[in-house]
């Protein structure tokens, strides 16, 4: 099996989807001949022509508006937003249009073919505007699906599922891992399920839950915890919306403890939703308060980024505090 980094896996998924179905189109700022500022769309214009892979003018609300129209028409647009920080000009097209298209028309029309890709997250010295993790903004929006992969294998399988999913999917890519994360990725077509979390490590003392780039951070924290004799069950949520309550609840019923981590600020972050739901479902089984290890309630900083981020040491300490509660 070939080894790929996450960008290669994404590029490969796009390539497979475009080869298979000529209705699949890739576009966004600089995605054409240049292949995107991160090169996720490299060579696609060469292979599939300018009509199917192209640069757009610099206007996110237009990109998504255009994509909504294409999807309603029956095409399968995969629109790239250059950084998740720049998805907000398209917020209205996404939350008022994409999300509500099917519902408001009684399913006469829908934009289920739409996939929106955007690199998200910190750890790359990006400061306020090249670091944000906006998944919670979208997770409050019924009608959308939100998916985040943790490694190249997941990225390819989930992206292929997203493109073929009958509902619109926001696909956030942890850009810190674009080149840093490598692994074996099958050459052939495969899909991974949307809406299902994955237990990546079994354990008995505490459930540690995250998604995207935090999974790698969790692994480091858990290694420290295991050294201290704490047995951790690790879950990659993968889909933020809809999210897999059952898998998480089942795990917490077993471990009695839950820690959730994300880079986005604490207040209103998606960890709150998970904590609220699981605390309700597992009320009598919780042995300690659900712990949230997240970014601070501030914009994303630069020089003190390391201090800001929910790193393995903060998670490790929080695991210990839970277990010692």
């Amino acid at each position: 099996m070939p080894t790929m980094n996450m960008l290669q896996a994404i590029n490969n998924a796009l390539d497979i989807a475009m080869a298979e179905d000529e209705k699949v189109l890739c576009f966004g700022e600089d995605v054409g001949i240049f292949g995107g500022v991160f090169r996720a769309t490299s060579h696609l214009q060469e292979k599939y022509g300018r009509a199917r892979c192209f640069n757009t003018p610099l206007v996110e609300q237009g990109i998504i508006g255009f994509a909504n129209g294409l999807a309603a028409q029956g095409s399968v647009p995969v629109a790239e937003i250059q950084f998740a920080d720049y998805i907000f000009p398209a917020f209205d097209q996404i939350v008022n249009e994409t999300a509500k298209f099917r519902y408001r028309s009684g399913d006469l029309f829908n934009v289920g073919g739409l996939t929106i890709r955007a690199p998200y997250g910190g750890g790359i010295s990006g400061g306020l505007y090249h670091s944000q993790s906006p998944e919670a903004y979208f997770a409050h929006t019924p009608g959308l699906k939100v998916v985040i992969p943790r490694n190249p294998y997941q990225a390819k399988g989930l992206l292929l599922s997203a493109i073929r999913d009958p509902d619109p999917v926001l696909f956030f890519e942890p850009k810190r891992l674009y080149r840093a994360s490598t692994g074996e990725v099958p050459e052939e077509d495969y899909q991974l399920p949307i809406g299902e979390a994955e237990v990546t490590r079994e354990g008995s003392d505490i459930t540690v839950l995250g998604w995207g780039a935090q999974m790698e951070v969790i692994e480091r924290a858990v290694a420290l915890a295991e050294k201290e004799g704490i047995s951790c069950e690790v879950i990659d949520l993968r889909s933020i919306l809809p999210w897999d309550e059952d898998t998480v609840a089942e795990s917490v019923l077993k471990t009695g403890r839950l820690l959730i981590t994300h880079e986005a600020p604490l207040t209103g972050g998606f960890a709150g939703e998970i904590a609220a739901t699981i605390a309700e479902r597992c009320f009598l089984y919780l042995e300690s308060p659900i712990s949230r290890v997240t970014g601070l309630d501030t914009p994303f900083p630069l020089t003190l980024e390391k201090e800001y981020l929910p790193d393995h040491l903060k998670i490790f300490e929080a695991i210990k505090a839970c277990v010692a509660f």
Binding site: L25, A51, R52, F54, T56, P57, V59, Q61, G62, I64, G65, F66, A67, N68, G69, L70, A71, A72, Q73, G74, S75, P77, P89, D92, Q93, N96, E97, K100, R102, Y103, R104, S105, G106, D107, L108, F109, N110, G112, P142, G143, K145, P166, D167, G195, P242, E245, D246
Partner: protein, 404 residues
């Protein structure tokens, strides 16, 4: 690509040096302007157009009255703008896509949306294709290629560009028309749409109904320029301004625009100069922001009257036929309204369907809990409770019909 000419003194341009004329064919008395030629139009299509205009007018009058009687929560009239909307639609093929703002019910009438279909939406009953989820006037029809209306303004404009791009790739010779008001054209989505359409060369017609007002805001507080038309220059887009109350001019202009769009894959902007004769909506009272005199002046330019005089001059129509049609339509409105009012609401399940292609387990749980609750208090939720009773429960022919 920019022009090559140089100057050596700093001269500013403002666009005042050129002006955009208005294309007109038909005078208010039903005769043509000197030098004007009517577009090709046979009796059948002429009558189809005219009857659609009258059908729209009657619907609007009656439904606004119904709203005043408290039978309907909300309504919006097309009154005064029928020629713009129906003339443009008549210039298209019936399979071309229409993405409208909300004041374009005339387009639907022209394509054959029935009073029953209108009423089911207006009353949000079990047969409403939209399953009673949107406010009145948010019509949609898949079979008539009319995109379901969405309230957020201007969002349909870049969507139309995208839709048309898909049509171009499909290569079946269809185009998309998108209607919007001169107010909505202030939104960022407008700029995005026109720019993307011209860069990507898509077969789309941007049809602006410049009716003078956005709710209470007169166009003079909406933009400082000579209407919407000169914006086309910013995108090197074909543009024409047309008398929106002149059915022949609108028809001719839109036909020509469609040719440019479909044959050359070039977007076109049409600005139709017209006037919103009625209030913005049933919630509005224009007396606070404009004069009766202004309204009267425009009432004299009534597009229906203008076309009627033209038809009568052609001996394609008569006052008797007019009377008969009006009476028939009025009766039909009332009958269909009564039918629609009486129909049950959409079933409770429709609260959670269509959020996704399939109902998620979490949503199903929310619905189940809601059902339990309603069974406990059926009298407090008469609409929801009605569909819990198996006898009353309805299938979803609504959606199926609309889909057909």
């Amino acid at each position: 690509m920019t022009s090559q000419q140089d100057i050596h003194t700093p001269e500013f341009l403002t666009g005042d040096e050129f002006s955009i004329p208005t294309f007109r064919l038909l005078k208010q008395d039903g005769s043509l302007f000197e030098g004007a030629t009517a577009p090709e139009l046979d009796r059948d299509q002429a009558l189809r157009i005219y009857q659609a205009m009258v059908t729209t007018r009657v619907l609007d009058e009656r439904m606004m009255a119904a709203q005043r009687q408290g039978r309907l929560s909300f309504y919006m009239q097309c009154t005064g703008e029928e020629a713009a909307v129906i003339g443009a639609t008549a210039a298209l093929e019936d399979a071309d896509m229409i993405m409208a703002q909300y004041r374009e019910q005339g387009a639907l009438v022209y394509r054959g949306f029935t009073y029953d279909e209108f009423m089911n939406q207006l009353f949000g009953n079990e047969l409403d294709y939209g399953k009673g989820r949107q406010m009145p006037i948010h019509y949609g029809s898949r079979k008539l290629h009319y995109m379901t209306i969405s309230s957020p303004l201007a969002t349909q404009i870049p969507q139309a560009a995208g839709y048309a791009y898909g049509q171009k790739l499909a290569g079946e010779g269809h185009c998309t028309i998108t209607f919007f008001g001169e107010g909505a054209a202030s939104e960022g989505d407008f700029h995005a749409a026109l720019n993307m359409a011209s860069v990507h060369e898509v077969p789309v017609i941007f049809f602006c109904r410049n009716n003078g007002y956005a709710i209470s805001t007169p166009s003079i507080e909406q933009f400082a320029a000579d209407g919407i038309a000169p914006r086309a220059y910013g995108y090197r887009m074909h543009v024409i301004r047309v008398d929106g109350n002149d059915i022949l001019a609108v028809l001719a202009a839109t036909r020509a625009a469609r040719r440019i769009a479909v044959e050359h894959n070039k977007p076109v902007l049409i600005e139709a100069m017209t006037y919103r004769l009625a209030a913005h909506s049933s919630s509005d009272d224009p007396s606070g922001y404009r004069s009766k005199k202004e309204e009267e002046a425009w009432r004299e330019k009534d597009p229906l009257l203008r076309m009627r005089l033209w038809l009568i001059a052609h001996e394609w129509w008569s006052e008797e036929q007019e009377k008969a049609l009006q009476e028939e339509l009025r009766r039909e409105v009332l009958e269909t309204m009564k039918r629609a009012e009486k129909r049950p609401p959409p079933p409770l399940d429709s609260l959670v369907t269509d959020v996704y292609a399939d109902v998620t387990p979490a949503l199903q749980r929310q619905l189940d809990r809601l059902k339990t609750h309603i069974r406990q208090y059926p009298d407090s939720y008469p609409r929801g409770a009605s569909s819990l009773d198996p006898d009353v429960a309805v299938g979803d022919d609504a959606a199926t019909e609309g889909d057909a």
